[in-house]
Each structure stands twice: as C-alpha cells, then as structure tokens.
C-alpha cells in the first residue's frame, strides 16, 4: 500500500458519518465530538462516537465500473478451496497445541511462537514448523478441559496476521471458519458448549512475520 498511512475515523452516532480525527465537529451534521474516550462531564453527543479503524485493520472490496457485482468472499480472504485447507492435505504436518492449567490455576492456556512468510493466498501452500510457511495450522488439544463449556479466546500477538479457527481438522469451509484480521494483533473469542479439538490457523495473508499464539479457555456457563 505504499506509504499511505494508517488512518482512524470516528463514527458519529448522530448521523453515522465518518469524522476525521482532526475535526472537533462532525462534518456532516455539525454535532460536536470528542475523539477521546468518553469521560464524566462529556456531553452525551460527545460520547456518541465510535472508533472506526480504517486502512490498517480494514478491508476493501475491489470494484470496477465494467466489473461484475461482488459476491461472497466477504470474510476478507476469499473463497476457501475445498480440499486445500486441511493441514493433512496441505503437506501432512499437524502441530498440536496442548491446553495446560495456567500458573495461577484460574484457567487453561496454550502458547506457541513462530514465524510465517507472507503470501497473497490463504491456505495455498504447505504448513509446518520447520521453515517459515504462509500458514501455521494447529490442532488444539483441550486436555483436561475437554467437554467443558466456556469461553475460548484465541490471540495472535503480532503484526499483520490473521487467525482462523474451525471445529473440524479436515474441513475449513466458509460456514464454520471464523476469521479475524488486522495489523495490530488479532483476537477471537468463541463461546463453546463443549470444548473439543479445534483447528486454529495462523495465516500470513495480512503480512507474515513473527507471531505469538495464545489460547485461553475460561470455563463457565455459556449464555
């Protein structure tokens, strides 16, 4: 994207218009805005803005006036080719990520660090821990919390990575894959009725490089 800087807009809750950060009033409806977090004493209108990250954590749909309408692919990674995304199909490497009781004993966690290389395609080439590859795909072993209900949080602390999870190791589809992407770390929070083996993919599509993947499971009733 060249040298184009990452920008952030606020979104005016009064008119839903975008507000550049250097303006003190909405350019659409003229309501005053406070670009900082809301705090006591700030008017209701000033509180009524929501940060909208653009560029860095955003996506765009490529269009052209002679082009065809856009369809699907709205997860930002394009249609996932059937049969190409299984770690077994990809190159036969499956990495296991085992849940363990956290040091404070409050939850169960798993952690791994690694590196990916940038690729334009999702799930296009081999995965594996030996060399930097476009994807790293892990099978989460629930261990002692297997079958429990709770909240599974998947966090990638790195620049420019995307994470995916799926219930089935052998089949990512548009329906059961969950995606989060961005430049400044990604976080997925999934409520599960009964924790089982879960496939987690760290995907380099947004940029690649070093990453740290952390998984935290907090048992508890799921609403």
């Amino acid at each position: 994207m060249g040298s184009k800087s990452v920008m952030y807009f606020d979104s005016c809750h009064h008119c839903q218009g975008l507000i550049p950060a250097d303006l003190s009033a909405c350019p659409h409806c003229d309501h005053a805005v406070d670009h900082g977090s809301s705090s006591p004493g700030v008017t209701d209108v000033a509180k009524a803005v929501t940060k909208v990250a653009v560029a860095g954590a955003a996506a765009m749909t490529l269009m052209a006036c002679y082009g065809g309408g856009y369809y699907g692919d709205d997860d930002g990674l394009g249609p996932i080719p059937e049969g190409k995304v299984s770690p077994n199909v990809a190159c036969g490497v499956t990495e296991t990520l085992a849940m363990e009781l956290s040091p404070n004993g409050e939850n169960h966690t798993a952690f791994v660090s690694g590196t990916t290389e940038f690729s334009y395609d999702a799930f296009s080439r081999c995965t594996g821990p030996t060399n930097p590859t476009p994807e790293r795909i892990f099978t989460l072993d629930p261990g002692p919390v297997r079958g429990q209900a709770g909240t599974l949080t998947v966090l990638v602390e790195a620049d420019r990575h995307t994470i995916w999870t799926a219930d089935q190791c052998d089949d990512f589809t548009d329906q059961d894959a969950v995606c989060a992407g961005g430049n400044d770390g990604n976080r997925l929070e999934l409520e599960v009725d009964s924790l089982r083996e879960t496939t987690i993919a760290v995907e380099s599509l947004a940029g690649g490089g070093e990453f740290q993947l952390q998984v935290v499971f907090e048992p508890g009733a799921v609403p």
Binding site: M1, L18, Y66, Y70, P81
Partner: protein, 422 residues
C-alpha cells in the same frame, strides 16, 4: 485463496488482483451510454492463443478474479477457452453482459467451462432500459439471460448505471432483481465517457446525489434484509453519512469506506487489442501503459507511469475542492476516470456526496456545463465547466422522458457519432 476483498496491510505489494478484460469490442447492442462505444471489433484484437498466454501471465501476477466483458465477451471466438483457462488457473471467471445473446445453451456452456458468475447490465424498467440500450426487447432479453444463467447454476448479478433518464426506476428495479434471484447488485453513475459524453443531458448533476444517495442507502438496508449484496461502483460516493453503509458488503461485520482509486494498485483493465490500463474505464488516450503484444504484463504493470499513477501520487495531485476536503487523505479525489471525464484531469471530482452536501449547507450547488465535446473514440471524454449557483436556482435540465432523450436507431454510423440532443 484471496479474492476481491482485500485486507489492507502496509506491505501489500500492488498486483492485479481484480482484472476486467475486454475480449472483443464486438457487440450485439449499441448502448447509448457505452463508454467504449462498442459495436464493431477493434481492428487488431488478440487471438485465442495470445489470450490464453495472457491468462497465464495473469495467474503469475496474482490475479484472483477476472471479469470478461466486451462489447460482448461471448462474441469472442475463444470465449469459452478463456473461461476454461482462467478456471484451470484457479482464477474466478465472471462475465458482465447486456445479455441479449445469452441463451440457455450458452449459459450451460459457460457454467460447464467454469464461469462463476454473470452480471447482467440492467439500467431501468422496460421502457427506460430499452431506450438506453437502443433496442426494444433488450430488457426482456436481459431478464431472460438472468434466468438462463441462474437455471444453469451460475450466480447471477445485475449492474446498473444511474443517470437522469433512469434514476426513477431504482426502487422497482430492486424489487425486480429480488424476484429474479439476483444475488449481487452493483450501482454506479453514468459518467460522460464514450457515447455518454455525447449525451450530456443524460448524466446526473452533482447535486442530484443529494437525493439519490439516500435512496440508495434505503435500498441497501432492504438488500441486507433480503440477503442481496448491493455495492456502489467506484464512481459513486464519497464520505457522506451513508458511506460505510453503502460501501460495506456486510456493515454489521465490518465498516468499509472508499480507500481511493485502486487502478494500477489492485485493479487492472485490458482492452481487446492488448492495451493495458489500471482500470477498464480509464481513458485509453491517457492511461494505456503498454500492449501485451509488445511486452509482458509484468513490466507494464511494474514500470509504466500510466499503471503506477495511483501508487506514486501524493496529496499534491489534488486540486479545487478536493484539495481542501477533510477526507482527502483516503479519498484522493474519488474515481480517476470520472474526474478526468469531467475536468480533463484527476484530483478534483464534483461527483461527490460529501461535496454536494457541503455546498448544500451553504445554500449552493455545483452544476456542470459542457465545455468541449468528446472526439468520438472508445473511452474518450469531453470536458465541463463547473458553475456554483444557488441551491434553489431554476433547474436548467429537468428529468426527461426516455423517448425525449434517446432516439432508438438500429442503423450504425461510421466514425464519429452525431450529437443527439433533444
């Protein structure tokens, strides 16, 4: 496999992800607003073997979706061969068509060859569409094309040009598309390009956006409820209150906005004689970087200034209102070919909802007055002057009835076309 929807990352290298490829300029319609003035094939169009080599080059360059257009793409001798080759390379193949010649047999052949989607150009209900397409029966043919393609298992979409002739039909069109199973609807402005530049009465005035954009936003909300993907084309915007609603495929999930012209960044156009541009609508005279008969695609893409302009430009390219706009950083003056078609150069684009609202607040509006005529070539343009006048000034050009604006003629003319002013 990444598709047309890209996550923005600072280190993404420009590549032709989304390509619109005019296979032939031969056409079975003679549309009054056609930017390429299609009808007859160009004199030196790429042969099938050359086209198949282009497919390989597109795959090597990272193309993910290629839209085949014309003229009519299906009138190109190797049309199905190109579709198969794209599919074999894992590239999503799409066709945009007027639909006149899309029979059930052809639809099935396209599906079997690997075509993914068909987008049929439908610009209004029967009377207005037929006027714009200059052929009675073209509306019914377009609907038949939708049905044939849907029955063949293709995903069907529609694309609509909006102008002074047809904007009244947007709401009934939406309902028609729902009834016809249209999955995706692209709406865009008729820009005075090609034949539309010969009919300046047809194109909207900038202040028309004050009414049309909120109407489109209302339709977008309905589309979301009905699971239709409705998106504006690149020349419809920018940064009004409805920006994220209009620009986001799923605004409940992500809030997109206009990110500037992507011509030569992630979008590319190919003309049927091998000429390469950053966007299919860009003016041939100013924006062809090279020809695939003379060079491989990669050096054209990587090195030519005509393809690189949107990568290399800065804010200093902006002028007029756009240079002062609070949204100038991401917007960069909106659609490049539209700005060029109005004022003869990029960087200042009066077709902007935010801009129209800005003037509205001051009780003013901008009106375009034709200044110079288009020379009569594919993808050409004339120029306009902008006058600022009172918002409630008498309307110099009220909406016209279809029959008053465009006369249907089946007789093609050679060379330059006469202006058709009512």
């Amino acid at each position: 496999m990444a598709g047309r929807r890209l996550r923005l990352a600072p280190n993404q290298q420009p590549r032709p992800v989304y390509v619109v490829w005019e296979l032939t300029l031969k056409c079975d319609l003679h549309c009054t607003h056609c930017g390429s003035r299609a009808g007859h094939a160009r004199p030196d169009e790429l042969g099938v073997d050359e086209a198949l080599d282009v497919v390989k080059q597109l795959a090597e360059m990272g193309a993910r979706e290629v839209v085949l257009i014309g003229g009519e793409a299906y009138l190109y001798d190797g049309f199905l061969d190109v579709v198969r080759a794209l599919d074999d390379e894992g590239i999503t193949a799409v066709m945009t068509t007027g639909g006149r010649g899309v029979t059930a047999d052809l639809a099935q052949q396209m599906k079997d060859a690997g075509l993914s989607r068909v987008s049929v150009s439908i610009d209004g209900m029967r009377e207005r569409h037929d006027r714009m397409r200059a052929l009675n029966g073209s509306f019914d043919a377009a609907l038949a094309a939708l049905r044939h393609c849907r029955e063949a298992g293709l995903i069907v979409g529609a694309n609509t040009n909006i102008n002074r002739l047809n904007h009244q039909d947007l709401e009934p069109l939406f309902e028609t598309f729902l009834e016809e199973g249209v999955a995706t609807w692209q709406v865009q402005l008729t820009t005075p390009l090609g034949r539309a530049a010969d009919r300046t009465e047809m194109t909207l005035q900038p202040y028309d956006l004050l009414g049309i954009v909120p109407r489109l936003a209302a339709l977008k909300r309905k589309a979301l409820e009905r699971d239709m993907i409705m998106l504006p084309g690149n020349n419809l915007g920018y940064f009004g209150p409805e920006e994220t609603l209009l620009r986001s495929p799923r605004p409940d999930r992500e809030k997109d906005h206009w990110q500037g012209c992507q011509a030569g960044r992630f979008v590319m156009g190919i003309e049927s004689d091998g000429a390469v541009k950053g966007c299919p609508s860009l003016q041939t005279r100013h924006y062809v970087g090279g020809n695939l008969r003379d060079q491989k695609l990669k050096p054209i893409w990587d090195e030519t200034p005509e393809l690189r302009f949107s990568r290399d430009r800065g804010l200093d390219e902006l002028w007029g209102f756009c240079a002062t706009c609070p949204f100038k950083e991401p917007c960069r003056g909106g659609c490049s070919f539209t700005a060029q078609a109005i004022l003869g150069r990029r960087g200042n684009n009066p077709y902007c909802h935010y801009r129209a609202r800005h003037f509205e607040k001051q009780g003013q509006r901008e009106r375009l007055i034709p200044k110079a005529a288009a020379p009569g070539e594919p993808f050409d343009n004339g120029t306009f002057d902008i006058v600022i006048e009172a918002l409630d000034a008498p309307e110099p050009q009220p909406d016209l009835a279809a029959a008053d604006l465009v006369q249907i003629t089946r007789k093609p003319t050679n060379g330059r076309r006469k202006r058709n002013r009512s």
